[in-house]
Amino acid sequence: MTSDPLASPSFADRWRRGQQLFWTWLADLRLAILLLLAIAIASATGTVIEQGQSLAFYQENYPTDPALFGFLSWRWILSLGLDHVYRAGWFLGLLILFGASLTACTFRRQWPALRAAQRWQFYQEPRQFTKLALSASLPQGKLDSLEPLLLQRRYRLFRADDVLYARRGLAGRVGPILVHAGMLVVLGGAIWGSLGGFYAQEMIPSGETFQVRNIVDAGPWSGSRIPQDWAVKVNRFWIDYAPDGRIDQFYSDLSVVDREGQEQDRQTIHVNQPLRYGGLTFYQADWAIAAAQVRLNNSPVLQLPMAQLPAAGRIWGTFVPTKPDLSSGVSLIAKDLQGTAVIYGSNGEPLGTLRKGMAIEVEGIRLSLVDLVGSTGLQIKSDPGIPWVYAGFLFVMVGVVCSYVSHAQVWALEQDGQLYIGGRSNRALVAFEQEMLAVLAQLDAQSNHSAETAIA
């Protein structure tokens, strides 16, 4: 079976050629620049157009007539997914294409460039120096006097008889590869995290025990990570206030308890200090007022649940009955956990301010405030991608620092009573020029000096 060389190229040939073209296109730097700018512009639209609002919101703010800039109406926004840019299919597609371009670039450009940098060679002919901008010939220059000057400047030297090669900063060629690899690991970790992780929120009053149930967002493979055989008890939630009434810090004293109610772990968390247990992390994220504990005349302590008042911001209220048949009562309103509440009568008249441990006479009853009970708002997260993302971050950071290093190479040749020196650098041209000129000046001074001593 031999193919006729004059026949049109076989399918396999065309396939191979097409593949070749595809990889060349994918590794093209102009594509990479275009992708970087496209992702930048797409990300910017997401900060200008409000994200995740209702249909009515977009209809009101982006009417079809007159449309913003003549075209940006709510119909366009919704059909392009500009109401959720960062989750839109085309945006994720851009990110995937970006990842593919990174990979292709690493293998087709950076890796060969690193290999080329490692495969250096001596310059054996003076004419090889002519292409370098920073090249010079020194009469009576000696390789032996050049060597210490380069060593002093932390160059690595290779020498054979009358030729010399020196280099410094090969790390600058490794850095970009590390950055690209690290970014791929971060992207992979993010995908893994979104598939295998979940995220939940709970609002739990001080003193209660809860299991993680209010899952807000869960990946398809996250089922096994939701804990079934342990729960968390909120021993206490409190807020520290600064003397001027400003919030200093939120604290939750949490215990992890197993099925028998045995304590497995206990930590006090605050913002910036979460609890980690069983692959889950509990963050201090929010708070509310759960209940008011009051006493009416000499009654036992009554715990009345407080509710957040609609459309009033962070204000909570409850109804305190003043007659046994609940036909009459007052409202108790609080806006923080500093131990002060305001009492309003049934007609809405303010009746006075009540401090914790104090009492007030209202409608013939002595109402005393024992305490205000807070709820802690916890954000609960499990993200199996985190180790990958952090490892990727480490690669990126190390790589990006290495990438600042400039790769410098120096060649030298002693021939015909001349010392030829030439050098090149890829990034720090100005600094390298100064360095080379300094080396040349020092060499010049040395050879003049030796010439003088020779004459003397």
């Binding site: 102009r30 990479a32 930048a40 900060t47 370098l132 995220y199 910036n272 954000q379 990006v400």
Partner: protein, 325 residues
């Protein structure tokens, strides 16, 4: 000593030093034969830098935390970073043009912070709970220094565009290293000298020997120098920006359980990163050299400002502390 009044006199002193510094640099550019002016400018920048360091130090002592938690402090930190990066860039390039570009920016920031901000916003205030973390120092200071470096670097690109207006130019520094080659092919007739040497025993007959090649280094032009220093300073700002963003992501993950949440500030930091990444890649792209990367860097100058101030003017998101709202 009263730390508050010390701060007030230091912020005015910084302005009073930067104004003549700016005039020195500009006069120096207009009259290049006045040799002393750039040296006075450099000294002015250095003194202003020390004044701002002292101001921030006094603030640190007074408030007890690292002083970049409100707009006033962060503007002074930025101006301090600008003057520091300016001194570095000036030393690298040895060009008086650097100061002509950076001193107005530093002066503008100091004037805004010292005179335009209302008095309440200039006072030290306690930190909100979310900022009480050692990450604050790490994340914010690195971000601010990176902004300073990127601003200086992109200003130098603007200067490069001004210097090279109307010329075709090939950029030199880039990570592929195309810039280290001679731009003009050596003219053999003028550059190669044929050395004749007398040979000892031939009785006065000059013998033509093998030609010996003579070479002299070709040095960078002003435009090349500006361009390369701009590239190096942006190259310094870029890793800092990367580390700052990553520090912020790790902090967010430790504090709130999410390393990336597309918060407007976060997103604009990413946009800044993407624009400067595009700049760095444009420099190594054949056919894209010349003015195009410098134009990208100029765009980057605007993007840094949107990221630093613009996002906070919206007053949305995780980063709306100590600003206008």
């Amino acid at each position: 000593m009263n730390l508050v009044s010390l701060q007030n006199s230091l912020d005015n002193a910084t302005f009073a030093i930067l104004l003549p510094t700016l005039l020195c640099y500009w006069t120096g550019v207009a009259f290049p034969n006045l040799k002393g002016l750039p040296a006075i400018g450099t000294a002015g920048m250095a003194i202003a830098n020390l004044c701002m360091a002292a101001l921030l130090g006094a603030r640190w002592l007074e408030a007890g935390y690292f002083p970049i938690s409100n707009l006033y402090e962060s503007l002074f930190f930025l101006a301090w970073g600008l003057t520091a990066i300016h001194l570095l860039a000036e030393k690298l390039s040895g060009s008086r043009l650097v100061g002509a570009a950076t001193s107005p920016l530093a002066l503008g920031i100091v004037a805004f912070a010292a005179f335009t901000l209302p008095k309440e916003m200039r006072q030290a205030e306690p930190l909100v709970p979310a900022l009480k973390s050692n990450w604050l120092m790490m994340h914010v200071s690195v971000m601010m220094v990176s902004y300073a470096a990127l601003l200086v670097g992109s200003l130098l690109s603007v200067a490069f565009l001004v210097v090279t207006r109307g010329q075709a130019i090939e950029l030199r520094g880039s990570s592929v290293g195309t810039g280290s080659f001679r731009q003009v092919k050596l003219n053999r007739a003028s550059d190669l000298t044929i050395a004749t040497a007398e040979s000892g025993g031939s009785g006065g007959t000059a013998v033509l020997e093998q030609p010996v090649l003579q070479l002299a280094p070709e040095q960078l032009s002003l435009a090349d120098t500006l361009d390369n220093v701009s590239y190096r300073v942006i190259g310094l700002g870029f890793p800092l920006l990367t580390i700052g963003i990553i520090a912020g992501a790790v902090w967010a993950n430790e504090a709130w359980g999410s390393y990336w949440s597309w918060d407007p500030k976060e997103t604009w930091a990413l946009i800044t990163w993407l624009v400067f990444a595009a700049y760095l890649h444009a420099r190594i792209t054949r056919g894209w050299q010349g003015r195009r990367p410098a134009i990208l860097a100029t765009v980057g100058f605007g993007v840094v400002w949107v990221c630093y101030l613009g996002v906070n003017l919206l007053g949305k998101g995780l980063h709306s502390y100590g600003w206008f709202f």
